[in-house]
Symmetry: C2
Subunit: 397 residues, 2 copies
């Protein structure tokens, strides 16, 4: 179905923050062509069409799923719609990358995995932070064994996630909302990638601090791997202490942020008033007044909070320019070229799968395994006991 | 038994690092008199006697236990000897503060608690970091409720503990060695104090990274409290990444340390050679060439790594001058006067118990509850499952 010039015709389903973030990576990737987009919001779609007159635009996920001339779709619709949209895409022979978490439950994940297997199309899950260059580099250091066996991994992140403008489903756990689903998907992706993938059990506490934002906004998660390595994932999205204070004042996108503006997400939301949250949220959609410019290369590699890895013979963490390796003899910095983002890596992984038949690391089963950790964290908190996992997948790299 | 001038005649049993650290607090406290010390090492004892000619010196714990003119003893002998030394002191009517952990097992802790109850003498456990001014101040903020219910507490600490000069028992888990006993006792004291004391369960991984130092040198511990609050205690003592990098380059004593000297504890030990470790260890004893000068007030409050507390309406962490409070409206610093150390607080608590009949917070049952968490962490790691606790004690403050 690909064009004779071998470019993959790529479509984006849902032009919110996640969908918009993939536009620049597609544009700069010579293996891809921006072929289309779908969105429910006409203004957003019009802005996209104005930027890409040759691309097709659609007002529904079903329509773009059926469209000719599109090879692969990025499903960046709300989590509760992933299954329907992914299955529609697969039914039309399209390769799919769906946003994390893959679904709100394991059964839906299985439906997608089975459908993709049957149709022999690629199913990937992302963006999640395990795609990012510094984490991939950490994985390489762990894997090459220079620091000995991996024993502990920690990811700790204090953000303003709960007070950024949100659609209702983002604050509804039953629809895959809250930080355990939405941000745990990043943390567990990082931790599972570093640790080799096979989480044995999870013990967690998830918490809702604010009744007006009725989803999990914080969690403390202990993970043990089959090989005995342990990890913690700590998250607090209530816009108070910010973990960037502990490091380089760098955020997820690699951009600096102003720590002096204390609680700015919370106060902006309060000042706007509850009736205007959806409008604020709309402004972050493609080309909106609050949408992010993804075309500049940041001065720093992106940080997803603090990630600290302990092997038997050394530790690893990030620096703005790469990694800090604390080995037996020295603390050294590995400088890693900037400019290749996690979303660039998504496209590379997708192209390799579609064109070169290289199984993607972040396939449906990987995404399901990340989801299993999210669900286990919620269940562990609910039942106040350790939860043992059954659907983990080893890293294939 | 106290003198007519109401001073408490205080003796120190074991003039190692812990014992030596209590000398200055005793000297500057008008309610105490430095009345005696016991040590197996004649040179150490001679240095003490030279500094305090009016104090009595003894070459055994049994002898100082029986000595007249001493009201209270600080038992800073190796952990495996605490029980015998504490019971001897109590049998002679002396009040006791014993170093943490109280013992290597709960049965021994019970023997000491019962003996102290029967003899109606004070039994306390310390020094542990919950005595320190910044942690006590954090507890006050949590307790006064201005930030709402406590939900998460984290203590994360990466040090050189495993490569400082050690006596054999410090590297033997069966004798109470390794970081889970020795440093977990600090972390769990901090966390239990902040959280109100009642830990419900523990899930942990402890790890030995270096066969030549055959005790736990790292751990990852998840704790859930009866009220649903969660905590993590992460420790890595292998002298690689140092958590002081994340903050203010301040250590336990409030002193700055030079992060440029990478791995200096490990290299110093290697350069000295294994045969000389005991000699190096001896030099840190009272008045030795490597002993610390405890008489200066540091520029910063002491830090036991990173302690981050999340309540429903705000977070708390330390600054060099006090606490940072991240409330709904603002990030503010509470400046706390320096100069009152955790060891000063031990003496205050002891005097209050002995003279004013105020039950000490860090009594034998509190120390036993801290020990129960240490033991549960080791057991959880060993059995790879969650361990439920039965001997926790509520904070009385």
């Amino acid at each position: 179905m690909m064009d004779t010039d071998k470019r993959i015709n790529f479509g984006i389903v849902g032009l919110g923050t996640a969908g918009s973030a993939l536009v620049q990576p597609v544009l700069k990737n010579k293996n891809f062509r921006m072929a289309g987009a779908a969105d429910l919001d006409e203004q957003t779609l019009a802005r996209f069409k104005a930027d890409f007159p040759e691309a097709s635009v659609f007002t529904s996920a079903e329509a773009i799923a059926e469209a000719q001339g599109i090879d692969a779709l990025f499903i960046s619709t709300p989590t509760q719609f992933h299954t329907g949209h992914v299955l529609a895409a697969i039914a039309n022979g399209k390769h799919v990358v769906t946003e994390k978490p893959i679904a709100t439950n394991l059964e839906d994940a299985d439906l997608m995995i089975e459908a993709a297997d049957k149709a022999q199309v690629t199913l990937m899950v992302g963006h999640s932070f395990g795609y990012e260059t510094p984490i991939k580099a950490m994985r390489e250091v762990v894997k090459n064994g220079e620091l000995g066996p991996l024993r502990m991994m920690h990811n700790w992140y204090f953000t303003d996630w709960m007070y950024r403008p949100r659609n209702p489903e983002e604050l509804d756990t039953t629809l895959g909302g809250g930080v355990t689903f939405r941000q745990g998907s990043h943390q567990f992706d990082i931790i599972r990638l570093l640790g080799g993938g096979l989480v044995r059990s999870v013990r967690a506490m998830t918490a809702k601090f604010d009744n007006s934002r009725p989803a999990e906004g914080a969690h403390t998660v202990f993970l043990e791997f089959e090989d005995g390595a342990a990890a913690t994932a700590v998250y607090n999205g209530y816009d108070r202490f910010r973990s960037a204070e502990l490091g380089y004042n760098v955020g997820e996108g690699g951009l600096p942020f102003n720590l002096d503006k204390y609680g700015s997400a919370r106060s902006a939301l309060r000042n706007a008033g509850p009736d205007n949250e959806l409008e604020l949220k709309k402004n972050v959609r493609y080309g909106g007044t609050s949408s992010r410019n993804w075309s500049n290369i940041p001065d720093s590699h992106p940080f997803y909070g603090l990630t600290i890895v302990s092997c038997e013979n050394g530790d690893i963490r990030q620096s703005p320019d790469g990694l800090l390796i604390y080995s037996e003899e020295e603390k050294k910095e590995i400088v890693i070229p900037k400019g290749i983002s996690g979303r660039d890596h998504i496209l590379t992984e997708l192209k390799a799968a579609m064109v070169d038949n290289i199984p993607p690391l972040h396939d449906g089963r990987w995404g399901k395994a990340n989801l299993e950790v999210c669900l286990a964290a919620l269940e562990s908190s609910n039942k106040r006991k350790e939860i043992y996992l059954n659907h983990q997948k080893m890293v294939q790299d």
